[in-house]
Symmetry: C2
Subunit: 401 residues, 2 copies
């Protein structure tokens, strides 16, 4: 049974609506709700404003008209320049092996690819659906995405740590994890044969040290979290087995006959600008000119401010992340996850409700399969929304003293 | 059970492959396969080449970054300018009622919207899946799209004319019909309650006379067939019931968290260029400057050439379409469908195989739920591919005499 309460449309942080167009919240007033529920990545926008022209794409009337892109490739709707850009980006960052021995499948965000992966990894001839498991706290949307159509191919199997059936299963490993930022590996421990989807949406240098080049069977990435271009809806899978890549492509064919070429061409362009800045000019540039340096600094500053406020507070606690050597930056550093996974202290039992009383919308622990003392707070908003959030929890701390 | 034989990637008409990039077939040699299986809409490209600059969109680095577009709208990921462009286009053409009392939901092509509609129209609390039916010959992909995930919400119920269960059902009505071009209405005749999806992908003036402004509960359109911009993957649904629109939006949220904004902004621009040419300058222009006049002339010429060749042939027959008054052109005219629905004559039992021997790839009748004496042939290819097709059936006619 699909619960539609999560169907409510996202609520932006807005002051007013003009002519049907949302005016983003510039200076939130103390009486307005601020939305830190979704992870809409506003935090990197100022970087892209500086790089505005360098990243410009121009698309003429007759461009990009065909369904087809490259029928010599398994993923026949993927533009060759996007495939090459993705391969280049992974070479530059060193976070995943995406060489010529791998198959890349583009999707309408990694959300579509997650479902394509479920389809591809599910046995087609089994009378019962395969169980899909993830260790809690798990990404809040996996369960709904698995259950929405009541598929006979797969079903939600709950927390991977508690899975003990003697049946085949698919485990989703999110690393770094959404919501809690920890580095994960497969944990399901049972006699059934497991297949693993590695969701690496946040395995980029601004969020976490790059400690190794992953080389898993099926890895998912999304441009939304890599650069903040969520509106483009571009994700990609790196797949070892050509039959899996073929089935994923088949799913996307059936689901949407391919993926927007306008988005594909723009993403290829922006990836090119990022890689050029590292490869052609390198570290002689002002670090703020380099995307991952800029974005890591932004997130580090936010985490430092947030920890200072939380440390003074008698209300919340935050996880600590151990330091690690990053092969991309050649420095040892902490993780600066995209979300704060906050736990209420003392008598506060429901973190989401507590923050809602402060007019801060966040996502409560229950959606992630854990206690409601926890809540996930997006750190990807615009500066003013983030600062208003700090002000509200500081004030709440004072009021409680 | 999903049959994966249809999973083979599309085969373009190609002469050679350079550096991973497909070089479109300009002059097909008699020994090369020509692909008239898919309906890749190359036929209108020369028009858009003429309008190249007028339709240009420029997208800068910081544009279109958010997941959100207009949270005051049910379809919160749809750009307001796209909604307005779609409403304007339907006012100009007069083919469907899309006023302010309707809800518009954008999708990654009408393929995604078809699945969103199945989700929205299926009872969420029924222990058995609802039957999805369509009158044969029906669009070859409906069955696979319904069956691919073995949903517990809906299942394929076969030919609408033969449906006689006393159960709720969803009927898909494709008008004009793909593959056969005929105008359809709902035909299922049983005691169960029916809900109807009207797939109006081809209800545009180049394909058929616009005889009325449709005002059905749920109507699907796709930009791919309207203008030929298939690579953009933009479709839209016009929906009367806000709860249905909300559930469709929920499905697209779960399926892909929205729809490419780059494609949305480009489609809004191109629709604006079409509407401007009709509204600001009107009929004083060279008819070839007006998109629907140009595209109807192209298809009319193809149909005239095809009928001339088929009439001389002892191999095939084609359906006749009755004339009708078109409220858009203010003239009485024939239909010029996007596909020819060809029937083999005499001893030829398998039209697809017969044409494959002529190195012409088409889609056989069985995929559409009917006899293999029929096959669907795309008339949307480039000029040279179309002319080569005529040459091959002319030669086959001569060889058989």
């Amino acid at each position: 049974m699909v619960v539609l309460k999560a169907a409510s449309p996202p609520v932006p942080s807005v002051n007013k609506i003009n002519n049907g167009t949302i005016k983003p919240l510039i200076t939130p007033s103390p009486s307005s709700f601020i939305n830190l529920d979704q992870g809409d990545p506003e935090v990197f926008r100022s970087y892209w404003r500086k790089k505005s022209e360098e990243c410009t794409v121009v698309i003429n009337g007759e461009d990009l008209m065909s369904y087809l892109s490259d029928t010599s490739n398994v993923c026949w709707f993927m533009l060759p320049e996007l495939r090459e850009a993705i391969q280049r980006l992974h070479r530059v960052v060193g976070n995943a092996s995406a060489g010529m021995d791998k198959h890349i499948v583009v999707g309408t965000g990694s959300t579509q690819l997650f479902q394509a992966a479920l389809f591809a990894l599910s046995p087609s001839d089994s009378p019962i659906p395969i169980n899909v498991v993830a260790a809690s706290p798990y990404y809040s949307e996996y369960k709904d995405e698995v259950e929405i159509l009541r598929s006979g191919l797969y079903r939600w199997g709950g927390d991977a740590r508690e899975y003990d059936k003697n049946e085949e299963y698919i485990e989703v490993v999110t690393a770094p994890n959404n919501p809690c930022g920890s580095i994960r590996r497969a944990v399901a421990n049972c006699e059934g044969e497991g297949r693993v989807i590695h969701d690496l949406a946040y395995y980029w240098p601004q969020y976490t040290p790059i400690t190794q080049q992953y080389d898993h069977d099926l890895m998912l990435f999304t441009f939304s979290k890599c650069t903040g271009h969520a509106g483009s809806r571009i994700g990609w899978a790196i797949v070892k087995d050509i039959e899996v890549a073929r089935k994923m492509t088949r799913f996307i064919h059936m689901s949407s006959i391919g993926v927007s070429k306008e988005s594909q061409t723009r993403v290829a362009k922006i990836i090119g600008v990022i890689c050029d800045s590292y490869q052609e000019i390198g570290s002689s540039l002002d670090p703020d000119e380099l995307f991952f340096e800029y974005s890591r600094r932004k997130l580090r500053e936010r985490w430092e401010k947030l920890r200072a406020v939380v440390d003074k507070s008698n209300l919340f606690s935050l996880a600590k992340y151990s330091k690690a050597y990053c092969t991309f930056t050649n420095h040892t550093s902490e993780s600066y996850p995209a979300f704060a996974w906050m736990k209420c202290k003392g008598s506060i039992e429901d973190c989401e409700s507590y923050l809602r009383n402060l007019k801060v919308l966040v996502r409560g622990g229950k959606r992630f399969g854990v206690d409601q003392k926890y809540a996930r707070v997006s750190l990807l908003s615009g500066d003013d929304v983030f600062n208003e959030f700090l002000t509200r929890i500081s004030n709440a701390t004072r009021n409680r003293e």
